[in-house]
Amino acid sequence: MTVREQPTASLPRFRHLQVPTSIRVFLHDPKAQVATIILLVVIFFAAFGPAIAPFGENEQNLRASLEGPSWTHLLGTDQLGRDILSRAMYGSRVSVSVGLIVVAIAAAVALPIGLSSGYFGGWVDAVLMRFVDTWISIPPIILILAIVAIAGTSLGNVMLAIGLASFPVFSRLLRALTLSLKAQDFVTAARSLGASDLRILIRHILPNTVQPLIVQGTLLVGVAVLAEAALSFLGFGAQPPQATWGNMIAEGFPVIRHSLWPTILPGALIMLFVLAANFMGDRLRDVLDPRLRGSL
């Protein structure tokens, strides 16, 4: 990226080329503003939820069950009289960690596959890409269910399963990036200086794939959060009484005839969080890598 940097004197003329400007462009976009605010609020709740939540995660008060919003319980209570707002705050911890860990798992699996497939080509590429093609053909939810059935029901296994189900997107992206990067002059230069394949891959190619990976990772956060919520709802994720947004909807569903509050809020939070992650990914893509716009 140092190539793109211009001397300070020419700043006004080349404003659109400057990295800080791209951040400014990003923050001037209304969609990006909304996304940033939502994500910051959710991350804040995830980090400080236990400290600021008015009630405990599983603090029951059966006399106050299924109440609507009041000053004591700002967003009402569920059938066990637990404070919905507090539980939603605790639940945000699960969603944020699911988003981050799933992306990390998917990237970790995809890195060796995508890099070597693109770099070595030939039969390595053929074998690895056939494997990825096959993996993609299995519908993700079925794949996740199969992994959960084998590994057992827990939040950790669900994250592992979602990560494993979603790595092909990353590996295809990495393969395409590596293919174009390995043909560039700086790779030829490194090779003529005697750099090994491993060194070229790690020191020269990998750093140049980071930006597109961040964009794809942000978009995957939304997918991961939706998948975890669906699996929690089905009962395969974190087990009750742990508060996750999916669990909260599952627990609220049987009492929808009496109160809608336990169901509406967690669903709306999932939607907002996924929406924010998608907006963020779209806008980051436009700002960081205009070449990829609309192509993925």
Partner: protein, 320 residues
């Protein structure tokens, strides 16, 4: 064209081979002895005799060395279309799956049809008049449809149409061939909820595709020739906008089946999705193996079909 189709069919073969390895390996990966997963730990502490173990192993096709088991598995699946015996109900997996098939075909077929019709219509309306209120509405719907959990929207439908209005039953399955009206009432909400994600994706893709095509020179030429707006729209814009949309439709097959796991559970429909859910709960790996294999086969078939349709619509693809 036949050469293109043949080439695509040949490309699918290694994928099929890998699917067989993966589904087979899945069962082998079950921690501990798969046999223990079958019969469960001995409750009364009695030990099974070696002959009993052999007999049960043979019954479920778990005897022999690893390569032996794999080749037997492939032979059974390919030659006899036999996926073994359900670990739970002890019925043939093929029959259990076949029993659930009609429900899944109705649900997924109708949902796919609805998402294509609704998605194309909305996307076209939005793309033809960008910036209008209609366009904003469609864009909003597409954004929400992708971000909102389908089961949450489905609960919203239940609250509105079952609890508040009392128009539709909350759950259950009625065979459309025996009582079409009741079946329609039972299927309306699940089909709609299942198709929402697809509607959103297809509408979004159609919209951007239409916007792109409308800028092309040949559209200007068509207008300049004096064609009516509807002729330009149908013969030029719609046909050429379909290309990327066809790809999306192929991908929707896999997405639909994933969605049906949760929608069938919510609306108590006895389809394949529900079967996959129950099999996961019961650790019935044989059923899961069969479902993964069959559904993947359908997805591969759908992708193949998509590619062929794509090749028919766009000659450039055939000669690549």
């Amino acid at each position: 064209m036949s050469k293109f189709i043949l080439a695509r069919l040949l490309q699918a073969l290694p994928v099929l081979f890998l699917v067989s390895i993966l589904t087979f390996a899945g069962l082998e990966l079950v921690p501990g002895d798969p046999l223990l997963a079958v019969i469960g730990p001995a409750q009364d502490g009695t030990q099974l005799s070696a002959e009993d173990v052999e007999r049960i192993k043979e019954q479920f096709g778990l005897h022999g060395s690893l390569p032996e088991r794999y080749f037997r598995y492939v032979e059974q699946v390919i030659l006899h279309f036999d996926f073994g015996t359900s670990l739970q109900s002890q019925e043939p997996v093929t029959r259990v799956i076949a029993d659930r098939m009609p429900v899944s075909l109705w649900l997924n077929g109708l949902a796919l049809g609805l998402s294509i019709v609704l998605g194309l219509t909305l996307g076209l309306l939005a793309g033809v008049r960008p910036g209008t209120r209609g366009d904003l509405g469609v864009t909003f719907l597409a954004v929400v449809g992708v971000a909102a959990p389908s089961f949450w929207l489905a609960i919203g439908l239940i609250i509105l149409f079952s609890v508040e209005l009392g128009w539709l039953p909350t759950s259950g399955w009625v065979n459309p061939t025996s009582d079409p009206w009741e079946a329609a009432k039972h299927l309306a909400m699940p089909v709609f909820a299942l198709s929402l994600g697809g509607v959103a994706v297809i509408a979004r893709q159609t919209r951007s595709s239409v916007l792109e095509i409308r800028r092309q020179d040949y559209i200007v030429t068509a207008r300049a020739k004096g064609l009516t707006s509807s002729a330009v729209l149908i013969r030029h814009v719609l046909k050429n906008s379909m290309l990327p949309v066809v790809t999306i439709m192929g991908l929707q097959f896999a997405a639909l089946f994933g969605g049906s796991v949760i929608i069938e559970r919510l609306f108590a429909l006895p389809g394949l999705g529900r079967l996959a859910f129950d099999a996961t709960l019961a650790h019935d790996f044989k059923i899961l193996q069969g479902i993964v294999f069959l559904v993947t086969l359908v997805v591969i078939g759908a992708n193949l079909l998509t590619d062929i349709v794509y090749g028919m619509l766009d000659p450039r693809i055939r000669y690549q």
